[in-house]
């Protein structure tokens, strides 16, 4: 039934809760994604932000880009803060001191806040089962502090702390798979989304909001500044990421995997890499290795889809 839903751009809400006037770089797809997420979540939402680009660019006092209640406490802890807000309202509503109503409690952070310094906090909040959404805006490095590597930086990318050099190809480790770590928490909903696929994004944000209990969204967030890329390519690069198998779009609902944008024929990885200065130094054999590993990962994902839907076949 769901597949018959009609999506058309004119049906999207016109109201924005992350407003223009913020200070993101030209072509920032991280703030684009955040705006789309909050457009879908709507007015009855409270957000807790990590330190990072999305905090700095939206809240230089006395200005704010936020039309919903928003709090920033520190870098590693938005999951804990959001879980506290959820618990606070839960108690107040139960005790009759605040009217019962549906509020979306959101904690969000960058890949650094999520995959590295805050992994424990996200894990804790998800494990405890709060009725909240955690959103990771993954631009694959610590952009706010000047493009340092994170554990979510892709293999081979040159960053300011994983620079390509005479004896190094840049990032030497494979991207940490945080959505999988979250799926291993057995929470009701995990999904990867990309602002380059707006309807897919909307549908998943809606599910994350409607599901009872914790939901995790991992958002592909192109960063022209950090990726050494032309700003006008930010949306296109997101499509290429999916078409080349770099960032598969899928969801895990109560343990069941579904690839929401299946790829039958992959584009060559070179189409994706060549647009970004951070991969400029990669040689053909390295690119071939990366591509082979991406294919293997996609096969694994497909296997998970089959395995978790077995009884339906």
């Amino acid at each position: 039934m769901e597949k018959l839903n009609v999506f058309a751009s004119r049906l999207l809400p016109t109201e924005d809760f992350v407003c223009s006037g913020h200070r993101a770089c030209q072509g920032c797809a991280e703030v684009l994604a955040m705006r789309m997420v909050h457009k879908e979540l709507g007015r009855n939402t409270i957000a807790a932000s990590a330190t990072g680009c999305m905090e700095i660019i939206t809240s230089p006092y006395p200005e704010t880009a936020w039309r919903i209640p928003w709090i920033h406490v520190a870098f590693e802890n938005p999951a804990s803060v959001a879980s506290g807000i959820e618990a606070g309202y839960k108690a107040l509503m139960r005790k009759g001191r605040y009217p019962r109503r549906k509020i979306n409690f959101v904690g969000y952070g960058g890949d650094g806040a999520t995959a590295d310094i805050g992994l424990q906090f996200v894990s804790g909040a998800m494990e405890r089962g709060h009725d909240m959404i955690y959103v990771c805006y993954d631009n694959e490095a610590y952009m706010n502090t000047g493009i340092q590597r994170s554990s979510a930086t892709p293999f081979g990318a040159s960053t300011t702390t994983s620079p390509a050099g005479k004896v190094s190809i840049g990032q030497q480790t494979w991207k940490k798979n945080v959505p999988e770590i979250m799926a291993a928490h057995n929470i009701p909903y995990v999904a990867t989304v990309s602002p380059s696929y707006p309807f897919d994004l909307n549908r998943k944000v809606r599910k994350a909001a409607d599901v009872e209990g914790p939901a995790y969204l991992h958002v592909y967030s192109a960063c022209p500044t950090g990726w050494r890329m032309r700003p006008e390519l930010a949306v296109q690069i997101g499509r290429l990421a999916v078409e080349t198998g770099v960032f598969p779009l899928y969801e895990v609902e109560n343990g069941k995997y579904t690839i929401t944008q299946p790829i039958s024929e992959f584009r060559t990885l070179r189409d994706y890499l060549k647009l970004q200065g951070r991969f400029r130094h990669l040689t053909d054999d390295v690119i071939d290795d990366i591509e082979a590993r991406l294919r293997a990962e996609y096969r694994l994902l497909e296997a998970k889809v089959r395995m978790t839907h077995e009884e339906e076949v």
Partner: protein, 397 residues
């Protein structure tokens, strides 16, 4: 008025939080605080308190979570000690500067290394700059009363700051003491439901915790300074109201037999009970000595302290923490700040005692008193001393 019952102090503190009808408790276990949170989780599990007990995965998360609870407008309580307080350090500043009311009890314990679960004040004294209200309890009843007053102070519209109730680990936390535990109804008369001044509210969205550019940062810090300093007056008022309601009197600086003393000891926390007994003994032998204790530590009750020690010749200061290679113990430093340049300021004999659970007993008081008497007799003021070092004393000189 409630009857007195023998109770472990940690259990009594949990009961006090429950009597305050707290909405949220986010805490992580650490010795010697554990009994407080264990008992609170029992109270919630038995349905005797309608609250969210959030078993977070660390103290950093506990404090972060408490920020969220308080920002939602919930009455918030937590407890920690030592390494846990140190792990919270980053967020303590932020909770204060976001003006989020909450009460945290700290079962004071030494900081590692070497790791030690026993009592001193190194945990709280390294957190003097965080912008919280900080008060000290000397016995179980005071700890209970300060938790109740603490919520009222923290939530007072003229204060709106997080508040830390310090009580000594083990030597107080694990003692069974006679406690008068007010009922929830009695507490409610003194502490009405919390109505937040500001909260994260979908009907009235606000941005909390924005970036402070250099054009506003100094002003934000000035506001933090005013907030803590100006808390003094309403805190004293609330202590007065507490006395009216419950009959127990509290003062920012407590004194004991200070009349016509030439020498006063200055202490903080649980050792004051031993110190009082010692003062009685010495006084009975005809020597005029008394005791001064800080109840309120932040804001620093400067005028009360000056009044309490007026006319005294020598102060024996017993710190429970010090800064290696620095100016000695924190209490002594701050006393010097209060008295520097003042005419007829007393001489100060600075000592550090009771580190990492070492017992402080009459022999130690006697030793420190000997030094004070020597100074009173005209001997030069000795440098700060770590008393109780086995094999001899260590002086800074």
């Amino acid at each position: 008025m409630a009857e007195r019952k023998g109770m472990e102090v940690s259990i009594a503190i949990a009961e006090a939080a429950s009597a305050c009808d707290v909405d949220c408790i986010a805490a992580y276990p650490i010795t010697p605080q554990t009994h407080v949170v264990e008992h609170l989780s029992e109270i919630v599990a038995d349905g005797d308190l309608d609250a969210e007990f959030i078993p977070v995965e660390s103290e950093h998360a506990a404090m972060s979570c408490c920020c969220g609870c308080a920002a939602a407008g919930a009455r918030t309580f937590t407890a920690t000690a030592s390494q846990g307080l140190a792990l919270m350090h980053e967020i303590l500043f932020i909770a204060a500067n976001l003006r989020l009311p909450m009460v945290m009890v700290v079962a004071n314990r030494s900081l590692s290394g070497p790791i030690s679960i026993w009592n001193d004040h190194s945990d709280v004294m390294t957190e003097r700059d965080v912008g919280w209200i900080q008060v000290f309890a000397e016995n179980g009843q005071e700890a209970v009363d300060l938790v109740i007053m603490g919520h009222r102070m923290s939530e007072d519209k003229r204060i709106l700051l997080p508040l830390m109730v310090n009580f000594d680990g083990f030597i107080l936390s694990h003692m069974v003491e006679p406690i008068e535990m007010p009922t929830r109804e009695e507490v409610k008369r003194f502490l009405p439901d919390y109505e937040p001044q500001q909260r994260l509210d979908i009907d009235n969205p606000i941005t909390m915790g924005p970036v402070g550019m250099p054009v506003v940062y100094t002003e934000a810090k000035m506001a933090a300074e005013w907030a803590v300093r100006d808390a003094y007056k309403p805190m004293v008022e609330i202590m007065g109201e507490f006395e009216k309601e419950f009959g127990r009197k509290y003062k920012p600086v407590e004194t004991y037999r200070t009349d016509d003393s030439e020498i006063l000891f200055v202490v903080m926390g649980g050792i004051s009970e031993t110190a009082m007994t010692w003062v009685d003994k010495v006084r009975d032998a005809g020597v005029k000595v008394g005791l001064v204790r800080f109840r309120m530590w932040r804001p620093l009750p400067v005028e009360d302290f000056k009044k309490a020690i007026a006319g005294v010749k020598v102060l024996g200061v017993l710190d429970r923490h010090f800064s290696p290679g620095g100016p000695g113990g924190p209490m002594a430093q701050e006393i010097k700040y209060m008295l520097y340049g003042q005419d007829h300021a007393p001489k100060i004999v600075e000592t550090v005692v009771g580190l990492g659970g070492r017992d402080v007993n009459f022999i130690d008081f006697d030793q420190i008193f000997d030094r004070c008497k020597a100074v009173l007799g005209g001997a030069p003021v000795p440098p700060f001393e770590l008393i109780q070092v086995r094999g001899g004393h260590y002086g800074k000189a």
